[in-house]
Symmetry: C2
Subunit: 329 residues, 2 copies
């Protein structure tokens, strides 16, 4: 009787371990093999490539790497929807060319307004409110909006293969960080639930808030002061400031991620890993590199990946699914 | 035979647990009891005061709270010693009134130069070098200097009761953070070894570094750009930026920590804890509040602690030891 139970237990454990591929949303292609090989090398104490657990810091871009950035980033969609929601309270906005373009869904004019126009939209929707109120607005927006093409809530549109990769790395003792051009306060509302990443490991573009006492406590008010745009050469700067150590792996999807990948690759102590997600799947998501819809240009990166031996993920070939079918069909 | 072993094991475990007071460097006074009571309330799932593990974030000031700040902060001593070390390479410094005051140990003139003079010393010693080189310089300085009064290395001068408190809180599931006016890059060299706090949980005053590619890799160069002085009302701003959530306990020693303590006390979700270290021990360390040697004024704080029910540690009465006798006799 005892031995029967033992054999059943052994069989069950064999069946379970055979089924439980932590990267099941990845096809068995070179990209998946490269990831698994590097993790095995990094976590095997008998190999010269071993990385001690307290050095296992890995960094991920967000827009286009963990969730879509086409045709507009989620954060820009939030800003647009907020402008529309708030417009009735601000009749004076009608006289503003950028805001009135937003209200007419005229994104060509918005794009032509350049960084100045973008900063103006951010100022109207991301400042002069408390940090608590801002988090609540992002939350309300996520609860009440869907992506038009896919018909899914935005917080259900994390790429399933990348979410599995985050879990897989954490299960192997890595600390997963987001280093993104997206707004730090915006992403932190979503990152714990979508990616299992706590607020302090989510780094993005930021401005400084202002502290004051109130009648019944304290408040932090968002401002545009000390604005830091966490993109391109600023990403290693942010990594040093927030994380305080050099990563051993970096994951991105655009030329704006190259400084972060180069900084990681130049880690003098360990064999590192670099990966770029190449958007090649117009049917299941979007296809772009040199002609991106709004952001996410990937030209230098494809050349550099060859030189440096970085893994380039071909979304169409390498991913079994893009979104988790249980969340977003 | 078996039962004898069992009894021995039980006795041993009883003896060990009786001996192992995690706060053994604290006298059994009201301060210690208040700490223990709050931790018991916060970690007992059956009480309404329970704080879930993923919300157990606690913040500590550093200068005067975890290590001495009198008569000069350690970081200012580092700056002074660096100026002296580097002066022979910079004959032009002799013409500068602040630098030449430093070279003559004329700290009255340095103090009279105010914030402008201080920023100048920081610029000469904390910028225009790579982050790696800076960390190496801090390390070399610690290895080659001692506190003159106590004859100890600076990295052996963490307050033993506070180091025990950090361990005790971590053993109870709290994440310990430093939120200090000290320089972020300076403290991170020492915090892991002295306090068991990893770099990403050490927050301080900072400036932005500059990223560039080099012949054999990449570098981050320290600059004075984007200088953020992490003191007073800036502390809650830094907590929001780096930690992204409100603490449940805050530990400081001066009026510069009050905004951080108020922000923590106004946490709407949990019963919080606030503590101020009062420097009352001229014999074993220093005694000051309204007439501090250089920094660390504590006037408002003593009043506010009464109103708010914060614990005020009387160093002389509450601490059995100040420094760990094994490190600094």
């Amino acid at each position: 009787m005892k031995s029967k139970i033992l054999i059943s237990a052994l069989l069950l454990s064999y069946v379970c371990s055979a089924q439980a591929d932590p990267l099941s949303a990845w096809n068995d292609s070179a990209s998946k093999q490269a990831i698994e090989q590097w993790v095995q090398n990094a976590t095997n104490q008998d190999r010269s490539t071993f990385i001690p657990p307290d050095k296992r810091y890995v960094v991920f871009d967000n827009d286009g790497t963990l969730w879509p950035e086409a045709p507009l980033t989620f954060q820009l969609r939030f800003a647009v929807d907020e402008i529309k929601r708030l417009a009735p309270e601000h009749p004076e906005w009608k006289n503003d060319p950028v805001v009135s373009a937003v209200l007419k869904d005229d994104f060509r004019t918005v794009a032509q307004s350049g960084e100045k126009g973008l900063m103006q939209l951010l100022e109207l929707t991301h400042s002069n409110i408390t940090t608590d109120e801002f988090a609540q607005r992002v939350s309300n927006w996520v609860d009440s909006h869907q992506d038009q093409r896919f018909g899914c809530r935005y917080d259900q549109m994390g790429y399933q293969p990348m979410r599995q990769l985050l879990d897989y790395l954490r299960d192997n003792g890595f600390k997963t960080w987001i280093i993104s051009g997206g707004g730090i306060d915006f992403m932190r509302v979503l990152a714990q639930k979508m990616y299992g990443i706590p607020p302090e490991q989510v780094v993005g573009s930021f401005s400084l808030s202002e502290f004051s006492l109130t009648d019944n406590g304290t408040q932090l008010r968002k401002t545009m002061k000390g604005a830091f745009n966490d993109d391109a050469a600023a990403k290693p700067v942010a990594i040093h400031l927030f994380m305080g150590q050099r990563p051993v792996a970096a994951f991105g999807n655009s030329d704006g991620d190259l400084a972060m990948l180069q900084y990681t690759a130049a880690n003098p102590d360990f064999r590192t890993f670099g990966l770029l997600v190449h958007h090649t799947d117009a049917e299941r998501e979007y296809a772009y590199d040199s002609h991106p819809p709004a952001s996410g240009k990937l030209i230098e990166g494809l050349k550099m990946a060859q030189e440096k031996g970085w893994t380039v993920v071909d979304m169409k070939q390498d991913w079994k699914t893009v979104f988790d079918p249980a969340l977003c069909k």
